[in-house]
């Protein structure tokens, strides 16, 4: 049914998307928490920075990543020298590009769910002996779980479709950085590749849809767990 090439493209895409979510979750949670619960000068600027990948041309993000993580870039040289890790033109680089591009989506969902938590519950937890970390771990994060899961799944689905920043940063190398959208693009360039490209398009649709449906089911489950009933939206 699926050719071995198609399977390896899908596996690579899933691998990249998964790593990108793993990279961005800690930063996403921190950014969401800061935006939802803190007030500080320059908050709107911080908020704008978080949302920047949403409005910036992806090619700009990719280009900057290349400057930063390339062999002679400050971060690239550092990683190479100290850890022997190269990310430019590697699948891990594709994951970094996806992580940045999907970051605003992830933060938005997480932030909304954290803002929806009644701060009075957190105050109640404080009076019962919980410190800041205790409140975060026992109240804020568990209650925000549906939004956290949504954010992760949205970021995952967005990563599956990442194109512009990825192709600029890590190029289109079959077996290394050629994820689904990049493979579709490559096939499109080849005469007679339309049918194969069309198959990948359908695969892409199925994958994205599956991710969204899965997220929906997960969120419903999480809501039942934390509230004892389905949340009204």
């Amino acid at each position: 049914m699926l050719s071995s090439e198609e399977i390896s493209i899908i596996l690579l895409s899933l691998k990249v998307a998964l790593l990108s979510v793993i990279i961005s979750v800690p930063f996403g949670l921190a950014a969401a928490h800061v935006l939802a619960r803190r007030d500080f000068p320059g908050k709107s600027l911080f908020d704008a920075l978080v949302h920047l990948p949403l409005v910036l041309p992806p090619v700009v993000v990719g280009y900057w990543l290349l400057l930063l993580f390339g062999k002679r870039g400050p971060l690239g040289a550092f990683l190479e020298e100290w850890f022997g890790i190269a990310v430019a033109f590697r699948w891990s680089g594709a994951a970094i590009a996806s992580a940045i591009m999907s970051f605003p989506l992830m933060v938005r969902a997480m932030r909304l769910s954290m803002e929806a938590i009644d701060p009075k519950l957190e105050a109640a937890a404080q009076t019962l002996g919980a410190g800041r970390l205790g409140v975060l771990l026992t109240i804020t994060l568990p209650l925000a779980m549906p939004g956290i899961l949504t954010g992760m799944l949205l970021a995952f689905a967005r990563s599956l479709g990442e194109f512009g920043a990825t192709i600029t940063f890590v190029s289109n190398i079959p077996g290394e950085t050629q994820t689904l959208p990049l493979a579709i693009y490559a096939l499109w360039q080849v005469p007679g590749g339309e049918a194969a490209a069309q198959r990948l398009c359908v695969l892409s649709l199925v994958l994205s849809l599956a991710a969204l449906l899965f997220s929906e089911a997960l969120v419903r489950r999480a809501n039942r767990r934390i509230k004892g009933y389905d949340a009204v939206r």
């Binding site: 009075k120 019962l128 002996g129 209650l143």
Partner: protein, 361 residues
């Protein structure tokens, strides 16, 4: 034991509260918007006042000048909120033992059993807060605060969001708590009945200032505090004891050192202590013992003060034994009867509110 002296700015007015309270139940009383919740939140450590000090049992919890602010979790004060604030993602049992996550030494199986029994929540332990009624939630919230072994229990209008029936249910548990645990409590309320029912002392707050503080009898009896207290009407509060019960006429006789009062039977037990409130406008004054009259309660006393207040009415304080009765009558009556301090009079009481169990409507 607890000494509070704080200033804080909050929307509309500045809070400037200074009071001390001892063991037993201290009511923080006043109409809504008086700043009661801010005061209790400052005591709990949930807000940081702009100025002042808060000292508990010699330990400074807050001192603006020295920059001391002990965080809420380290104050060991239990807090029962108006809306129970149970954690929705935990079961009742997990809610109850929440504080033990942060301090293992607080846990004691016998304490847990005792609190669960005291509050009658044994059947609810496996449920989620969403499956509880309002009264049940509040009982669990009280249990959760108790199991943190608080040095002081703060209650912020814990009955306000409940219907009348649930109110009495929770009031009963609070009374039980007061008599059994001996944990000092600060009880925020704007309901006179709750204050009379539970409190030993009252701190009366109006527009962010402490207007009066002292024993319940002293503060709640003062007619001049009527506006400050909002819904509270001037009158007297008298501690009595049930002397006799007449089941035939369904009456109870309450004795105090100035005489007896006859009230409708409320299921009283002889010897039970009952606090009654007699509103100033329910008291009339006669110079001679009236006869052929339906009023049951006629007390003999001596006029202490006669104060004209605004609007042509006069507040008359009448000493009846050790109790002080208040009457609000017209200026004309004062003139016609020649009421002056020292005069022996008869106080005719038209109605009495009692708070035997809080089981009235």
């Amino acid at each position: 034991m607890l000494s509070v002296e704080i200033s804080h700015d909050q929307g509309g007015f500045s809070l400037d509260a200074h009071f001390d309270c001892g063991t037993g139940v201290t009511a923080l009383f006043g109409r809504s918007g008086a700043g009661k919740t801010s005061v209790i939140n400052a005591i709990a450590g949930l807000i940081r006042p702009r100025k002042g000090r808060i000292v508990f049992d010699g330990e400074t919890l807050f001192d603006a000048e020295q920059g001391i602010h002990v965080r809420a979790g380290l104050r060991r004060f239990g807090y029962v909120f108006q809306e129970a604030r149970l954690f929705p993602h935990f079961t009742v049992r997990q809610n109850l033992v929440y504080s033990h996550w942060f301090d293992r030494t607080l846990y004691s199986a016998s304490d847990f059993t005792h609190v669960v029994e005291l509050l009658g929540i044994g059947a609810l332990l496996q449920r989620r807060p969403a499956q509880l009624s309002g009264g049940e939630k509040q009982r669990v919230a009280i249990g959760r605060a108790l199991l943190a072994k608080p040095r002081l229990l703060l209650l912020d209008e814990p009955l306000a969001s409940l219907d009348a029936e649930r109110k009495h249910e929770i009031l009963r548990y609070l009374r039980l708590l007061r008599d059994e645990t001996r944990i000092p409590m600060i009880y925020v309320s704007h309901a006179v009945e709750e204050v009379l029912e539970l409190a030993d002392q009252v701190v009366l707050l109006a527009l962010g200032r402490v207007v009066a503080s002292g024993s319940v009898e002293a503060v709640m009896g003062r007619p001049d505090l009527r506006t400050a207290a909002g819904m509270f009407e001037g009158g007297a509060v008298i501690e009595t004891q049930v002397a006799d019960v007449d089941p035939e006429d369904s009456l109870a006789i309450l004795g105090f050192d100035g005489g007896t009062l006859t009230v409708g039977n409320f299921g009283a037990k002889i010897g039970e202590r009952v606090r009654v409130r007699i509103r100033a406008r329910e008291v009339s004054i006669a110079l001679a013992p009236p006869q052929h009259i339906s009023i049951q309660n006629i007390l003999r006393g001596k006029i202490v003060t006669v104060d004209a207040s605004r609007g042509g009415s006069v507040n008359v304080a009448i000493a009846v034994g050790a109790a002080m009765l208040r009457a609000r009558i017209t200026q004309r009556s004062v003139r016609q009867l020649g009421l002056v301090p020292g005069l022996e009079v008869y106080a005719l009481i038209k109605a009495i509110s009692l708070d035997p169990h809080g089981e009235h409507g």
